[in-house]
Symmetry: C2
Subunit: 288 residues, 2 copies
């Protein structure tokens, strides 16, 4: 009985995804959960419908976003790149991603847009919205010829998919700038090697992407204001030390150094040396 | 001594804000906290620097965003309205807010932009990103001639300030569509009457704004899928019942009905009746 139930759920999710595709529509994960009731399909909670969507991804090898199913979180992009929209009502319309000085949210329209041209030479993805804004308004994007991406924590797959698309279309290197703690390091790792949740989906990883910091060595070299790690931070480090994605010697070195330092620093911490330090000194050191 | 310390902090925050204004730059709250160290000004934690910023707002009667100080959260806007940017590098450049089908983030650039023209007839602000996307892609914004705003929970002041600017510049009514629970109701209330945290700042409230739901009456009339309220929900209702902003009879009625019902429903819950129900039926009932 249990198997029949989840099979019926899977069929319905596939049907719902087909409806979305045919009508060129999108749905949030939450919405899909509520929509099921209209069809007499029962999920105990959203966790259950999310799991069935993962099953669909496994079967098809495609991320849910391809079927028009999006999570709530959004991240943003800004830079000298022209994209051509494919969503209904905007087919073939071109947009220059420097046009909105607040950036562009990465939703379904940008995720499905075609890269046309760029004069950028790298993709620079940062963790916080504050850093993203700073790099726009200091014209750091011009100076480093960078397409800026705001990851906003663990980045949604639409963001990772768009980054990979730009990386491949234009052959641009990808640099990742996050907080200096196990969580920030893992955001970079997920962009590079994929998340445990999406391990079944090809086409989202960027193996050549590089974590530029904040590394434990940076915390010491730049004498950054730092905070002691919590027990949750230290536990997370232990987990990462055993994670296959961290098997490389560079990663192991970062982990060992964090474990020795037992301190962490946010990317915002460079402001301690003035508003321009991060652009003029830190990024210059790391990117050039 | 305690007063000298906080006075010194206030002077520094005012100095920092002046620097931001003169150099046409912005800072996040977090960034300002770290920046203080460059000047030998000590805050125990970010809560303390946030409080001093509030003091500056009290003294000047202006929201921190006017000084270029922004929180991390962002919300978004989409609709048939032309704005003219004033930020450096974009002065006088016009942007049509239907140009990005994923919406525009409301950051410093849009907050300081000038409204030029619109053919919209209302501002419709919604709580969730999922609802915002749905109203864009179903062309509900065209059908209801609405400028759409995604509040994203308790909306940042930049968002409230932009909504008020559009409300005043074009004389547009403002409708608020949130989850049907005390938290959603209070999001609407804050847009209407202001937050306790920003009670000292004029120019952010929209007294004529109207909460269209999800009301407790809606939960029953539309037979929405609902969940029992938690003790935190019920406690929050008790607090709101005593809050001066809820003194009006309509609000008291909503509170009493929620207390009787003891259930809540998200705005996504309308998906139970199919993807188009919320646009074709619910919004039609409420807005026409």
């Amino acid at each position: 009985m249990k198997h029949i139930r989840s099979f019926a759920q899977l069929i319905w999710v596939a049907y719902f995804a087909k409806q979305l595709l045919e009508s060129n529509r999108t749905s949030s994960l939450r919405d899909l959960y509520y929509s099921s009731e209209a069809f007499g399909v029962r999920f105990n909670d959203q966790a259950e419908s999310d799991r069935i969507i993962t099953d669909l991804e496994c079967l098809t090898g495609k991320p849910r976003e391809v079927f028009g199913i999006f999570p709530e979180e959004r991240s943003a992009i800004f830079g000298s790149v022209k994209m051509s929209y494919t969503v209904p009502g905007y087919e073939g319309r071109e947009v220059d991603l420097t046009l909105s000085p607040d950036g562009f949210p990465i939703g379904r329209a940008l995720m499905t847009a075609k890269p046309i041209e760029t004069d950028a030479e790298m993709i620079l993805a940062v963790e916080s919205g504050g850093m993203f804004s700073r790099l726009i308004e200091t014209m750091a994007w011009k100076r480093y010829r960078a397409i800026l991406v705001q990851l906003g924590g663990q980045p949604p797959r639409s963001t990772r998919s768009l980054m990979r698309k730009l990386h491949e279309a234009f052959g641009l290197p990808v640099f990742l700038f996050t907080d200096g703690d196990p969580w920030g390091m893992h955001i970079a790792q997920v962009v590079k090697s994929g998340s445990a949740n999406a391990a079944h989906i090809p086409g989202l990883t960027i193996p050549a992407a590089e974590w530029i910091g904040v590394t434990p060595a940076d915390i010491q070299e730049y004498s950054l204001p730092s905070e002691p790690m919590t027990s949750a931070d230290l536990k997370r480090l232990d987990e990462l030390a055993r994670d296959i994605r961290y098997a490389g010697s560079d990663w192991q070195k970062h982990i060992t150094e964090f474990q020795g330092l037992r301190r962490k620093a946010e990317q915002q911490a460079f402001s301690r040396f003035g508003m321009d330090f991060v652009v003029d000194t830190y990024l210059a050191d790391k990117l050039q």
